[in-house]
């Protein structure tokens, strides 16, 4: 009965029209890329500038400078007082913010569509004309140290994640936290910020994403007027970070912190990311994570470890292919209270081994594909999240065509592809395994 219904739904799913937002792209003469996503349901616009620079592009010993600079971008320009940009956006009913990752730094405003030029003018102003007083730099350094205190030092899980990342990447700067190591953050100064800024904040290193109730030709005209006159950085080389050597031995760590309420295990494997024109390996891993993780009641690991054996209160698999360089495939298990971590880890390994023997359940696979098709309908309701997909994709080395092709590539993955991916990825010599627990004796 249920099987029949599923077959019917799949057929309807394939026939759905593609509703994705209208996408238009341009490139300005100074090298700045422009992407326009149209959504005319409400007179709102999201204006974003994404720089192809992030924490993994920092000079050695200057960890945190990309994120610190992001804070300093709010400290004024030749035309704007410190805080004035945000104040003007707020006075116009908008909101603004910024975020930094290993691969990008992005600034955005969300505002009534007729105020687009206002925010564009201010964002263009701070691309080249930043000013910051030594006092502002000193105060803001305290703020980012407090931010580290709040987000990392007060969160034992975040500290554990930081240690695990450092162990995962022996050579690639993905092993260094985006917010920075505290001892290096304390020494970041105004010169560090300015030299990073002058080199990387330039139109030929930036992508403008405008999404909402706008016409592409109007956006192009405004972009030419405000971003067009900005000078590019002439000698900007392609991004090339130190890459990982082959991993030949499993890495294991035990992390203890009294604030961890209950022991758990994470396992991560170095994994390929989505590459321009070559996303299939990543698509297989994305589907593998959906088959293993996802809803506990229907996923492979949830069924085996939470339902059948009741060895875990939580288990998951994760993969995010949006990355400039090699990413990771992750597993996590929070064992049922009282179960030793050693047994929990053995149960997790056993579940993976059984899965590789048993293969993919075709009904589950069809349901996952059905949900992916539906996601394309649901995501049309959130233009801002779509805009972020384009911004993060383009700063992670993908093209607009790659981003648009991704849903179809996911649909093309077969059960056998997923199984092949599992056999390739789950090699213990290429894994980092971490035990987190309140105190040393708690593993048993």
């Amino acid at each position: 009965m249920k099987r029949l219904a599923l077959a019917v739904m799949s057929t309807i799913g394939l026939a759905w029209p593609v509703l994705a937002a209208e996408v238009t792209t341009f490139r300005l003469d100074n090298g700045m890329d422009v992407v326009v996503l149209e959504d005319h349901r409400a007179p709102v616009v999201v204006h974003m500038v994404w720089y192809r620079v992030g924490a993994a592009d920092e000079p050695p010993g200057k960890s945190g400078i990309a994120h610190f600079l992001e804070h300093l971008l709010f400290k004024g320009t030749d035309d704007l007082e410190a805080g004035e940009l945000s104040a003007i956006v707020a006075r116009n009913g908008g909101s603004d913010n910024a975020f930094t990752s290993w691969d990008y730094t992005a600034y955005f405003q969300r505002i009534a569509a007729d105020r687009l030029e206002l925010v564009m003018q201010m964002e263009a102003d701070r691309m080249r004309d930043l000013r910051m007083t030594p006092e502002d730099v000193a105060t803001e350094r305290q703020v980012v140290l407090e931010e580290r205190g709040q987000r990392v030092d007060s969160e034992p899980n975040a500290l554990f994640r930081e240690q695990k990342n450092a162990a995962q990447y022996l050579n690639h700067p993905y092993g260094i936290p985006v917010i920075g190591w505290r001892h290096e953050m304390e020494k970041l100064n105004r010169d560090d910020a300015f030299s990073f800024y002058r080199r990387y904040y330039a139109p030929n290193n930036a992508i403008l994403v405008v999404a909402g109730d706008v016409q592409p030709d109007e956006v192009l005209e405004l972009a030419k007027k405000h971003y067009g006159p900005l000078a590019p950085t002439p000698d900007l080389e392609p991004r090339a970070r130190p890459q990982e050597p082959p991993q030949l031995a499993e890495r294991r760590m035990t992390f203890t912190d009294a604030r961890i309420a209950q022991p758990y295990i994470t396992r991560s494997y170095l994994a390929p990311e989505r590459d321009a024109g070559d996303q299939f390996a990543a698509a297989r891993l994305e589907m593998l994570a959906a088959v293993l993780g996802g809803d506990a009641a229907t996923s492979v690991l949830g069924r085996k470890l939470q339902f059948d054996q009741q060895k875990a209160i939580y288990v998951n698999a994760s993969y995010d292919g949006m990355s400039l360089d090699d990413t990771t495939f992750g597993l996590v298990i929070v064992p049922t209270p009282g179960l030793p971590l050693e047994e929990a880890e053995a149960a997790l390994d056993q579940a993976i081994a059984e899965f590789v023997e048993e293969g993919v359940d075709p009904e589950q696979f069809a349901r996952i594909k059905m949900q992916l098709r539906a996601a394309r309908i649901y995501e049309d309701d959130n233009i801002e999240s779509l805009a972020r997909d384009y911004g993060s994709g383009l700063t992670s080395g993908l093209t607009v065509e790659d981003i648009q092709a991704w849903p179809d590539i996911l649909q093309s993955v077969t059960e056998q592809d997923v199984l092949d991916a599992a056999k390739e990825i789950f090699v213990r010599d290429r894994a980092v395994t971490g035990w987190a627990m309140p105190q040393a004796g708690d593993a048993q």
Binding site: P43, G93, Q142, P156, I377, D381
Partner: protein, 438 residues
């Protein structure tokens, strides 16, 4: 016919006359169930938001956490389907149902495609009206809840929240966590969970809104199909008013962490108070507006004492607070507390300036339309309006109400909203030079 986008930009509306309107309809089903609806046919799905007044504060004495556990188990098997079969059916439809509970309200947020709307509603109805509450499902969810409670016990912000609530509200349900404690949750039985279901779900406490690809007539049929079989009345009355019991002072909860968390506040103002809108604007200026607020300027922008500080009005159904939160390194928390006290006294004494009020008004009136940015957000706003008794045309009049507030009005109430001599701080951490005092 409620056009509210007009507030954004008349110029723009003139250029694109058909785009920017949203019409809120009131729908009454053939069976008499009322809902508010915004039709939005450009994307083939619907967001449905259902709420029941009451929530976790309806827990029976000594059964704290029963309603939370019940809501978390609704999707774990219904009708002839166990948890796994139910999840398979939902995934095959690509529908989503979220069940949540807060102190004053139980919420159901559903999202489903037009293609299979009937099946998605049938399935949701099963979860809502025929949950199985299988003992193994209850036990599985119970372990997850216990895990959350254990995590909260070692999280400084959660410790601060629980401490403040306990001191402020005592034995009233507001005084304890809606998740319950290790002891109460461990002791809950299947009968307690079934009883919790009867306490929450009654048509007398029901509020509904929908936004998306559905007509008024289709929604009427859907409402009867989904909700007509609910009991006419929930099984218990709403809780009594809560007495605020906290004296001014400082409570330090020692906790081994490099950065302290402080919650601070005192008695608040009711949502139906005639001064609520001026009070809301006042709070926006003081601690509500992100980087632009007075407290953020004084603590973060000028002194780097914190990454974030905020305050809010918290008008719950049966008790009200003005409450704020800040985190600072242990060495600097004392300075943060002193500054908060100073600013609290300054705004109570002097109020705000004409310029601060004007900037807050332009922000609030400009930002309001931007909240209506998707089917689910619109449905949530509409159902929230119903629960606080606002009329449908509030969407049209709200910005005028904000614009009409005068400096005189706002400064008249500043000393009533902010009472520096009533402030109590709960500080979790090892704040240097800060000790408990009443």
């Amino acid at each position: 016919m409620k056009r509210f986008w007009f507030a954004v930009a008349l110029m723009f509306l003139a250029a694109f006359p058909a785009r920017a309107e949203i019409t809120v309809q009131e729908v009454t089903s053939p069976g008499g169930i009322k809902a508010w609806l915004v039709e939005e046919h450009s994307i083939p799905f619907t967001a449905l938001e259902i709420r029941f007044r009451g929530g976790a504060a309806l827990d029976a004495p000594d059964k704290r956490g029963a309603i939370n556990l019940m809501m978390a188990t609704l999707e774990e098997g219904a009708g002839d389907m166990d948890a796994q079969a139910f999840a398979e059916a939902r995934e095959a439809l690509a529908a989503s149902y979220r069940f949540n509970v807060y102190d004053d309200v139980a919420t159901i947020s559903a999202r489903f495609l037009t293609e299979n709307r009937d099946e998605a509603i049938d399935l949701l109805k099963l979860a809502l009206t025929s949950p199985r509450f299988d003992p193994d499902a209850i036990d599985r969810v119970r372990e997850q809840v216990l895990s959350i409670i254990r995590s909260e016990e070692t999280d400084p912000a959660d410790v601060a929240g629980k401490t403040f609530d306990r001191l402020a509200w005592g034995d009233h349900p507001y005084g304890s966590s809606r998740n319950g404690t290790i002891e109460t949750v461990t002791a809950l039985t299947r009968e307690d969970v079934v009883d919790a279901h009867a306490r929450v779900f009654g048509k007398d406490r029901l509020y509904v809104a929908a936004t998306g690809d559905i007509t008024a007539q289709e929604l009427g049929v859907l409402l009867d199909k989904l909700l007509a079989d609910l009991p006419p009345n929930a099984s218990v009355p709403l809780p009594p008013r809560a007495d605020y019991q906290l004296e001014p002072g400082i409570t330090v909860v020692p906790f081994d962490t490099p950065q302290s968390v402080a919650l601070f506040g005192h008695r608040g103002i009711k949502r139906d108070d005639p001064d609520y809108i001026p009070a809301f604007i006042l709070n926006e200026i003081f601690g509500g507006r992100g980087l632009e607020s007075r407290l953020m300027r004084e603590l973060r922008e000028k002194r780097g004492l914190t990454y974030g500080i905020s305050t809010s009005l918290l008008p719950m159904e049966f008790g009200e607070l003005v409450i704020g939160q800040v985190r600072s390194d242990n060495a600097r928390m004392g300075e943060s507390i002193d500054l908060i006290r100073q600013e609290w006294a300054r705004i109570a004494r002097e109020g705000v300036t004409e310029q601060e009020l004007e900037e807050a008004k332009t922000y609030l009136t400009g930002a309001y339309p931007l909240r209506f940015d998707g089917n689910a957000p619109i449905a949530r706003i509409l159902v929230g309006m119903q629960m606080i008794g606002l009329p449908r045309d509030y969407i049209r009049t709200r910005n005028d109400l904000v614009r009409a507030v005068t400096l005189e009005e706002i400064n008249r109430i500043a000393g009533r909203i902010y009472q520096p001599d009533q402030l109590h701080f709960v500080v979790v951490g090892q704040p240097e030079g800060v000790t408990s005092a009443n």
